[in-house]
Symmetry: C2
Subunit: 457 residues, 2 copies
């Protein structure tokens, strides 16, 4: 897809850039506009042919969408908004502040105005917020030929025509979803219902989280899922490309939260320096405050530390092993919960599995730790003192305890967060690390007190 | 989708289970079979109506697919395999060992046998490996009516008919991709090319990584992308539901690798205890061996530690702050690289951004650390000795150094891994933690040596 027209665009006047890129595919035009600032992008957009501008603004990858709509002359904006898909208009309006949002809403054609107002009312993470109201629905009394004729008429104005929703004409509720491929293959004179499968259609409630729409489309291999209210009326549909966009966004958020920060709402390359620092500083400070407990814990062991300095040598090793095992368990359970492989009430099954897993993993590390200390001592690389055997035993047993605690705590924290109504992916991993660091110190010094009392301590 | 037929299935005989669930949707039958072991699932499958068994085996979510195909009587397996979609057959055959695989391949109809052999030859992570050869292609000389007639004939045997590939009849190369919606809306007597867009179709090479197919489908909102060889011949297509499955799988792998372990190839609830321990032990040991360097580093500072035990109190706090800032930077860059927002050659831009970001973030934590020590000292909560001001300064400056190093190292490691041909998501985070732990100790003790020389040290 490399293209010289696109590569050189940066140095030209907006009108020339528009002329150069006007024949590219909309997603490729988006790539060019995303390298420009909002003002330039707006000028290029104004110079693009109207239908191309609509296509480009319909792309969810466009970064300055809201700024462009705000920046265009109102009459141009009105003409473009009237042709855009409604779910994108809603996406963009979500990011525009009042009173400008109201002013722009007034520019929409009357029927779209009402839909957009309703769509804007859904919470941002709900299925309702990513649905479009531009779908094809037909009464169940129509023949296949009627439906195909209707599709030919409305095809241009609908986000997808591959799923057609068949309604009970009396009660106006969804009775079936029919695919265009079955319609094309069917007998034109037969009822539209002959092309339907034998099962009730899959649907999602408007207030459900959008992850539920993602799950249904992914599980049942759908091209769209209808969004319904409590009485079975269709409010809109969520299409497979909305789902893919939602998945990409969600994946980025999940990785960033797992990395211990608030998810950025803009790409790394676009976000301003101070905004990025702000997003990172919050969590970093929160974790720093929790980690201060390690200093307090250590202060509690100052006598032991003064008597046996050799104990301090292994503090980082023991703490990090606990953190690593906790991080493994957390990452496993975050995904298992997200994919609905385990349910909340299964937490004790998980605990019963992580307990022996932690003991085995801790045992392996413990043996390696003991061998390490023994080898250094015997080969004369370092002298851990006359009680080196007891020290090795202390480190080994502490590793078993810390890794076991890390595995169990790391596996259960996602359940606790989910239960408390939080996203399990949100900073589980760094939380576990902090929890395990503090507890790891306590475990280490308790084991030391037990084994080394009367010798080193 | 809750259903009592499904919930109670566990206690019944295979034949009764099959009778109960036969009318459910295939993905829901998969949910039931996944709660059973391979042997039971095979018996239920054998008792299902033939067409339902085909639909169920076509679901990528089915966990015992390979075991079921191996376990069924050969004549039943042959009948089912003949009707399954080829990309799923290939998926399943990938997990069956020779010589059974060859034996099963021989059961396929001759034309499918050849396709499966070719598909099996593509590397598992390539676009070729997830493509299907069941697509619709037509010569560019046909009219729209010809194409629609052809679709009616072949609809049942194609994975998708929503994208139709138009070939140059002389050279047999791809000239256009046409959507079914444009065909349905078009003039039946016009050439198929009148329904085509004005641009060359998007395509992907068979040897390209499957992430490239995912990227193209997601960027251009396609329902399928054609897979071509070097001369433009279509080998197959990758459909949007293959892409969604690939994304879910990839997301799980990414989170697990980020958590510092080898990605599990089975769900958490399905994998055997020892196999899970094995997948976790490898990385845990590797990280443990690297973390041993912290013990060696500490041994190098044994004199300082003996003289100023108070320094040890802040070791966990300083190390974890470096680790957290590194983990933030890594998670940001892993996603930015995956989404192609930054390229390999941009590494120095990133470094130039992370350096000031690290200084600011480290400065914030440093000030908090200094205030913490000062408060404890002045309020009499803990006595850090007469040189507490210098100690506070040491901790503050060390935090600036460690957090800055963590941010820069954490942001650059994904580039290094990518450059070296590894997946940047693979254990970047725990690697950074280890690197930052060891370096953090060195930074801390160097700052201490500088500031505390002549007083505490």
């Amino acid at each position: 897809m490399k293209n010289d027209n696109i590569e050189d665009a940066a140095e030209l006047a907006p009108r020339d850039i528009a002329a150069r890129i006007a024949r590219e595919l909309a997603p490729d035009i988006v790539d060019v506009l995303n390298t420009q600032d909002a003002e330039e992008a707006t000028e290029v957009m104004a110079a693009l042919p109207r239908d191309k501008a609509v296509e480009v603004l319909d792309q969810p990858g466009l970064e300055h969408g809201p700024a462009i709509i705000e920046g265009l002359p109102r009459d141009v904006a009105a003409a473009i908004l009237a042709l855009m898909s409604l779910d994108r208009v809603v996406d963009i309006f979500h990011e525009i502040e009042e009173p400008v949002r109201q002013e722009l809403t007034a520019l929409l054609p009357p029927e779209a105005r009402q839909s957009v107002k309703e769509l804007l009312a859904y919470p941002e993470d709900s299925a309702g917020a990513i649905m479009t109201t531009e779908f094809v629905s037909v009464p169940s009394t129509w023949s296949i030929a009627d439906v195909l004729h209707h599709i030919r008429m409305v095809e241009r104005s609908r986000e997808t025509v591959y799923a057609v929703y068949v309604m009970d004409p009396a009660r106006n509720v969804l009775v079936q979803a029919v695919s265009l491929r079955r319609l094309v293959a069917g007998d034109p004179h037969a009822s539209v219902l002959t092309a339907a499968p034998q099962r009730k259609p899959v649907s999602v409630r408007a207030a459900a989280p959008r992850s539920e729409a993602v799950r249904l489309i992914s599980k049942y291999d759908l091209l769209a899922v209808p969004v319904v209210d409590g009485r079975g009326h269709i409010l809109g549909i969520v299409t497979v490309d909305d789902v893919i966009d939602a998945m990409v966004e969600r994946q980025t958020e999940e990785v960033q939260r797992f990395g211990g920060m608030e998810a950025l709402d803009e790409p790394y390359t676009e976000i301003s320096f101070w905004r990025m620092v702000q997003k990172r500083a919050g969590w970093l400070c929160a974790l720093f405050f929790s980690e201060m407990l390690t200093a307090s814990a250590m202060q509690g062991y100052e006598n032991e530390l003064a008597k046996a300095v050799v104990l301090t040598l292994f503090i980082p090793l023991i703490m990090s092993s606990g953190g690593n095992s906790g991080s493994q368990a957390t990452s496993l359970l975050i995904r298992a919960i997200a994919l609905q492989q385990v349910r909340l009430k299964d937490w004790w099954r998980v605990a019963l599995r992580e307990l022996p897993a932690g003991l085995v993993l801790g045992g392996i590390l413990g043996v390696i730790g003991i061998v390490r200390i023994g080898t250094w001592q015997v080969m004369g690389i370092y002298d851990y003192g006359e009680h080196w055997r007891l020290l090795a035993l202390t480190v080994g047993l502490a590793l078993v305890g810390v890794v076991t605690f890390g595995s169990v705590a790391g596996s259960l924290l996602p359940f606790v967060l989910k239960r408390a109504g939080f996203d399990p992916a949100a900073a589980s991993a760094p939380f576990v690390a902090t929890l395990v660091d503090v507890t790891g110190l306590v475990i280490y010094f308790s084991v030391a007190a037990l084994i080394l009392r009367g010798t080193l301590l």
